[in-house]
Symmetry: C2
Subunit: 194 residues, 2 copies
Amino acid sequence: MEPETVMDAALELMDEGALTMRALASRVGLTPGALYTYFPDRAALVSAVADRLLAEADLTLLDAPGLSPHDRIESFALALREVLLRHPAAVPAILGAAFSGPTALHVGESLLRELSDPRASYTVMVYVLGAIALEAAELEGPPPPEEERIALRRTYLVVDPEAFPLTHAANDVIAAYISTDQFRWGLRRLLSAP
Amino acid sequence: MEPETVMDAALELMDEGALTMRALASRVGLTPGALYTYFPDRAALVSAVADRLLAEADLTLLDAPGLSPHDRIESFALALREVLLRHPAAVPAILGAAFSGPTALHVGESLLRELSDPRASYTVMVYVLGAIALEAAELEGPPPPEEERIALRRTYLVVDPEAFPLTHAANDVIAAYISTDQFRWGLRRLLSAP
DNA sequence: ACCTGAACACCGTTCAAGT
DNA sequence: ACCTGAACACCGTTCAAGT
């Protein structure tokens, strides 16, 4: 059996919020102990899944000809966000393995090519991963449509207007914090810094 | 026994990388089952610890008189980073409870007071929490001195110069990605956006 | 190398019963 | 309300033994 088969099943189980070595073994038709032939332990398996997931975003967007560096970064960031939000339970693992994995290295190198100052490219990584992590944190599984999610937040996030007047007044904008528009707005703001 | 006693012991155990309900019970001199009088389940306990930890950063920095809005945000962000990096294992829980907790609500309100556009205040939150999360992800317990950590990264992060020339060339800056200077640099860049 | 069966040393949570 | 003792239904990981 290919390790990829095991990793795909592991991602499925993460999406269902129930990744255990035993459940994974049963899903791929093995005994729990047999999994340790493929990965030394659970943590290694999760790291491998995280790197595989990272590679699902189209890395070539970062080298797309005919686009400005900022547009390349924006289109890749949007693609990455889309991939990762479909698997919110895997996002913490991505944060953990953000630097170590081979795919992350590739992304880092491309990012350095687009921005002259390495400090700026790290700032972009921090923003992109931070935004995705905050959005993922409030998802249980694959996300419902964005409009639905925003509408839910609008009713969910009501606060005491006396104690938190500004938060109360900004309710609609705050509900849309998890929107693609807000994500793009923040990224552009960061990229437009002098 | 006060719930705070239980929460403090829980944070201790998180720092040691070994928070279990059984270990917690034994540390505070109770039976595992007795903990469920204080918190409905493990997740609720962790959320409560996260909020308590968030409150350890000096919230009054966000209202300090005589400082510009940007300086208030910077000093609070630095204080928050210091508190959270002392407890890296608790940071994922902070990300998860970033919006729900009562203390987070207070921080959000203050941030809205400092910046005219709510979208900008969210962008700052994303950056600050993202940077802290990435730094925390590579810590096992309370962090060694910064210089030591950077020096370790400098030798740790060596890559193939042929495959990743820009990453190789920027090694020193990349090693310092987890520095206070880099954190401040990115934050200022974000705040200086037009 | 890959896999099974069985075990070891743990988990979180529940619940009758006591105070 | 708070706590104990004991149980239930799980975990990850190891390892002799088989192929």
